[in-house]
């Protein structure tokens, strides 16, 4: 089975430091990690490979430094990585990103299964998985919490929906987005880390992928980000005194003020 796992480089969520003068997030290389949700997708891919054999390719669109996270993916068990990196990809929204990723998947070719994390922790859209599947014209299943059965042509999995759980059986090729419940990602071994240094990581650009310029980067993105800012957070405690009626009125007015 040929499995592609989409991974995104995100800042480490454990520490976000602000520049005191510009109030922007200080991003340095050592804080970049694989998007935590994607690590579950990666782990699931490796478990499938261990169970029924196959090949795992980690795929990412990003700046050249994102090669590091692809090597990280190899260190835990992926066989190779593919980085889609080109200045013209910059400023892509989810639509343009999904299109670009679909070109990567086509380049890899004959893919049976694509695994994505539920969403990225820095964007929170959860759109890439389904949009990528649409681009590839394959089915997708979101919020998968367990893969119950899998073989080269068929998958039975459990998904979590707003109203409960659902068992879904589907034919491959298929794209799944996975939840954190699905597994516990492993840490790499020393051997894994060392081997990943020489692992094959292909770098593709707009030209080598044959990208349509109007579908990539800023020009392919109908979403325009006008401004990004850090929401102002207020931590305040108010003591509310009085009888139940007064208290409930005050609580009511505080809630109204907030929303």
């Amino acid at each position: 089975m040929k499995i592609v796992v989409c991974v995104k480089q995100v800042p480490s969520t454990n520490e976000v430091r602000l520049d005191p003068e510009t109030n922007t997030i200080i991003r340095d290389g050592k804080q970049s990690v694989i998007n935590p949700f994607d690590t579950y997708a990666l782990e699931e891919a490796i478990r499938i490979k261990e169970k029924i054999q196959g090949e795992v390719i980690a795929l990412s669109m990003g700046i050249p430094a994102a090669e590091k996270i692809l090597r990280d993916a190899v260190s835990v068990g992926a066989d190779s990585g593919m980085l889609l990196s080109d200045r013209s990809f910059a400023g892509a929204d989810t639509l343009a990103t999904a299109y670009t990723l679909s070109l990567g998947v086509k380049k890899i070719s004959e893919v049976d299964l694509i695994l994505c994390g539920k969403m990225a922790v820095d964007g929170d859209t959860a759109q890439i998985g389904p949009e990528l599947a649409e681009n590839l014209k394959i089915p997708h299943i979101t919020n998968v919490s367990e893969i119950i059965e899998i073989n080269d042509s068929e998958i039975i999995c459990r998904t979590i929906t707003e109203t409960g759980k659902r068992l879904v059986k589907t034919k491959t090729p298929v794209l799944l987005t996975v939840l954190k419940d699905i597994n516990m990602p492993r840490l790499p071994s020393i051997d894994g880390v060392i081997n990943s240094l020489d692992a094959p990581v292909a770098v593709e650009n707009a030209e080598s992928l044959g990208a349509n310029k109007s579908y990539i980067g800023l020009s392919g993105s109908p979403t325009q980000v006008v401004k990004t800012y850090i929401p102002e957070r207020k931590n305040e405690s108010i003591e509310i005194k009085g009888d139940s009626e007064t208290k409930s009125e005050k609580i009511n007015s505080v809630i109204k003020e907030v929303i």
Binding site: S12, K30, S32, R186, I190, D191
Partner: protein, 527 residues
Amino acid sequence: MNNNIIHCMKEDYIEYLRDESRTIGRAESISFPKNEEEIIGIVKDMYSKEIPITIQGARTGLAAGAVPRKGHVLNLSKLNNILGMRVDSEDNYYVTLQPGTILSQFKEKIKLRKFDTTKWDFKSKRVFNDFCKKEEMFFSPDPTETSATIGGMVSCNASGARSYMYGPTRKYIEKLKLVLSNGDTLTVERGKNFANGRKLELKTDEGMNIEFKLPKYFMPNSKNASGYFVEDNMDAVDLFIGADGTLGIITEIEVRLLKLPEIIWGVSCFFENESAAIKFVEEIRSNQKDIASIEFFDKNALDILKKQKEINPGFERLPDVDEKMKSVIYLEIHTEEEKEALIDLKKIAKIMNDSQGSSKNTWVAKNDVGLNRLIFFRHAVPESVNMLIDERKKENSKITKLGTDMSVPDEHLEKVIKMYKKDIIKEKLESATWGHIGDNHLHVNILPRDNKDYDKGLNLYEKWAKKVTELGGAVSAEHGVGKLKSKYLKVMYGQNHIDEMIDIKSKLDPKLLLSPGNLFEVGKRSE
């Protein structure tokens, strides 16, 4: 004058009669002073009435140093402001803070560079502005219990995993301000006042001279937090670090920060037999640079953790350890460049493969997310053992964990581990061992099932204290002596040297009011 500050010991304050050692004491009154002036007022009051004072921080200590026996409890948790910052000509940054500052909060402030500077003087504010532009810094002492106060850490000379590379709290304390038992204040600053041989002269801020002879003992040649720090021509500040609150009340501390290494990687190495793990440690210690910590867990500790994981949802996300594995060695690599760290990893792999291990049986954490998982694993071990003991304590209140804190010089590591194992098996006791194997400093935890086990454990503890002393080691390497280990301090130094310590105390605390029961029993002099 102090009626608003000093409270009678009532039900509301019952928590303040105990600490993490799970020992329960008694006291008649308690206060939570907010500044030095209040402390001086309280202390003078107690001095005139000859009421003993027990000093408390966050009560996270394991040796009952903060557990009162009688008298007054002086709780410093509200004395928790960060007062200022300075930089020296070599670009070292120093922070002045109050003793109730919580370690985890202090670390967070340094990391995020978020200090409340509104009350700082102009100079400090200017230094802080430069500090914000500098590379990331950190306060290196890292006891497992991060809710400890810095004052408590100074009082017991706390360490942690990373003291293998960076040394204990002592090394990072530049200046202390203390209130003595009569209400006078004393300021001691590193590099300013040295003993003449074994004679030390101090001058209080009020101008009074205090002179005394230092004890004649020689400290062990291993990691040590047992009794007063004493050596020829020592710096005066060192006497007050690790003094367990017996000489004065610390009201201000200046600590030194270090530049945070660019690369911090964690590696857990699993071994199918314990002697291979010990051999690996010895090899790493002799041949491997950039190692900030070398930690150990035995099979019993792993089994207890595994059981807790099955029943406790808080531990659900812990990674599973292969059943075959009998020991874990955790290494932390601190270095400036990734390529150096990779070279270190390759060498570690070779040493492991040469020590009957396999570099395949390792977990590497190369970023904060992974590192936090390994740290969580490390911290979950003592937590799960405490949970097990708390369960047993419900059945039998006498039962408590008997955790050792002894260290020996490098050459005796294997010998001492064999002794612990042999004695535990012979006495048919249950145990779990972990700790700072790089410093030959293991916490052997005897887990009594009944009173008989508990008594057998106590006997073993005393036997080991004697043996460790013979090997040139220390009975307490990082927790401090407090009240629980005072008898082992006597084993280590003998009553004559204990008397010399009491002599120092009586010079600084003539009515012997501060922290009675810590380090020694003042009533039990040899003459």
